[in-house]
Amino acid sequence: MSDYTLNPHYASDDVAKEPTRAGFGRGLKKAGELDERIVALCADLTDSTQMSHFAGAFPERFVEIGVAEQNLVTVASGMARMGKVPFTASYAAFSPGRNWEQIRTTACLNEQPVKIVGAHAGVSVGPDGATHQMLEDIALMRVLPHMVVLNPGDAIEAEKATMALARDDKNPGYIRLAREKTPIFSTEHTPFEIGKAYVLHEGDDVSIISTGTMTAQALIAAKQLRELGISAEVVHVPTIKPLDVDTIVASVAKTGRAVSVEEAQAAAGFGGLIAETLGDHMPAPLLRIGMNDRFGESGSPDELLAHFGFDAGSIATRVQEFVANRPQYKKGF
């Protein structure tokens, strides 16, 4: 907790906003400056994934693959055999949506550091509708041996997460990105380390364990809950695999209740992961906030976040109800 610096304006209406994909774009270019082994491959979405910054700076290390996601990751696997650290970018709905087996066999089982960049994840993609709103990627990626799974909370963290993935020249990795601008709740000085979860806001009654851009909403929800007399702790989990079990379990041991929040399918996704983790270590009551076994639909991003219960107000309401109805876990009950 102590060394985590929050953006002091995180809860204000005019908080700075930026899409996480922009942070990725900056991070990849910086990583490319630091390490010439970094190469980038894109499946015809260079601008919208923000890989264009790298492509512009290092044209000789950028490869246009065309709309061919299976080829995208398998060519990258070959490049990794040559000692490169390849980043492959597309929309999450297509990569890893379409090429999961290639990722499993040629990156994970083959133990090559191929990095999968899944842009435009979640319902907040908006008007493009359900086909493009990837919700199953967390589940797909977190079950793969060797795979590192990152879901950064804001653009600043996305930049750090990208650079951290680039430094890992051993493991395949996945980074989940959002299309829309989301609030910046961290700062340049905020720590980020693969495998660490961070307590952003301390509380006693319930642990809100959130991943990705949902953490901005969870923080505001915690403020709203405080006014309702509920003390909520917010644990931000930008690394889904390997999971920081200690930080999560320590928080739930203190509060006795857990709520997971993700903009993805809760079944087998992040919510599933938290259920597994608590089942193993600390069987406290758990509320999983996420998509509940359905697809998204067209609409504006804000409308969709509210419609599916991903905005701060909806989260606060559900946490309040959960706290009222479920007793705190105590050892031995």
């Binding site: 000789e60 080829n71 696997s77 055999r81 040559m82 290639q102 083959n110």
Partner: protein, 284 residues
């Protein structure tokens, strides 16, 4: 090595394959037997490699895309000195480096992990692209073997389009045109013809050879090296199960190993070149 020596080596490899598969009790027979000649030619003549130094930085690359035929690669690697021939009978057994389908991290000398079809060519193309455009090393060569049934996979044609676009001239693909796949003959299951025309239209230099003629295989590999503005494909016409009469042309041997008695007959055929010569010590 002379052509005759290569042919003898390929025959030894076929015997190794039968012995391995019988010991394993499962695995694929037809494909490995059909590929014995080309894989022998690659490892003993065509490729620039150092068996004692599998990660040698100037080596040529070999990507086996149809991983189920890996017994032939294991047998050739053992005969070439990557590891002892006695290890071959550990194929498919618990703890073995010789997995049922090849795993790069298990056995030094393997370049990729494969089995699910259609991805080896992309990986080979990734290496070839890196050599040509990033490392700018014109000396090293990338070889890939694909099956013909495997060409049903869309991933193959994504890779073919990619290699054609970037004119990956250090890439040579050998297609094992044996006309069989698990459910039957390729032209019944999913027709591939005009196969040469397909590759040509993707921007490839195409050759067709007898996949059991050592001289033709080596010539085709040389010709591919002389083509400097395109990737090359060599469509090898092969006989599935080559060298063992009761396996040849029979698609049922695609995914089946010989039992003890069948292995005995197969080994006898291979030792005597189907009865043409007498094998000492066999008491024929």
């Amino acid at each position: 090595m002379t052509i005759t020596q290569l042919e003898q080596k390929a025959n030894t490899v076929r015997k190794d394959i039968i012995t391995m598969l019988e010991a394993a009790g499962s695995g694929h027979s037809a494909g490995p037997l059909g590929l014995a000649d080309v894989v022998t030619a690659l490892y003993f003549t065509i490729m620039n490699i150092r068996p004692e130094e599998p990660e040698w930085s100037e080596r040529d690359f070999f990507f086996l895309s149809n991983g189920h035929t890996v017994p032939v690669q294991y047998a050739v690697m053992a005969e070439r000195g990557y590891f002892d021939v006695s290890e071959l009978t550990t194929l498919r057994k618990l703890g073995s480096r010789l997995q049922g389908h090849p795993e790069r991290t298990k056995l030094p000398g393997l370049e990729n992990t494969s089995g699910p079809l259609g991805s080896g060519l992309s990986q080979a193309a990734g290496v070839a692209y890196t050599l040509q455009y990033m490392d700018k090393n014109p000396k090293r060569w990338v070889y890939c073997i694909t099956g013909d049934g495997e060409l049903d996979e869309g991933n193959v044609w994504e890779a073919a389009m990619f290699a054609g676009k970037y004119k990956l001239s250090q890439l040579t693909v050998f297609v094992d045109r044996n006309n069989i796949q698990i459910d039957g003959r390729t032209e019944d299951v999913m027709p591939l013809e005009d196969l040469a025309g397909k590759w040509r239209s993707f921007g490839w230099h195409v050759q067709e050879v007898d996949g059991h003629n050592m001289e033709s295989l080596i010539d085709a590999a040389d010709m591919a090296k002389a083509i400097t503005n395109r990737p090359s494909v060599v469509i090898m016409h092969t006989v599935p199960g080559k060298g063992v009469d009761f396996m040849e042309y029979d698609y049922r041997w695609h995914g089946m190993p010989p039992n003890h008695d069948q292995a005995k007959v197969a080994l006898h055929e291979l030792r005597t070149l189907k009865g043409k010569i007498r094998h000492e010590g066999e008491g024929v």
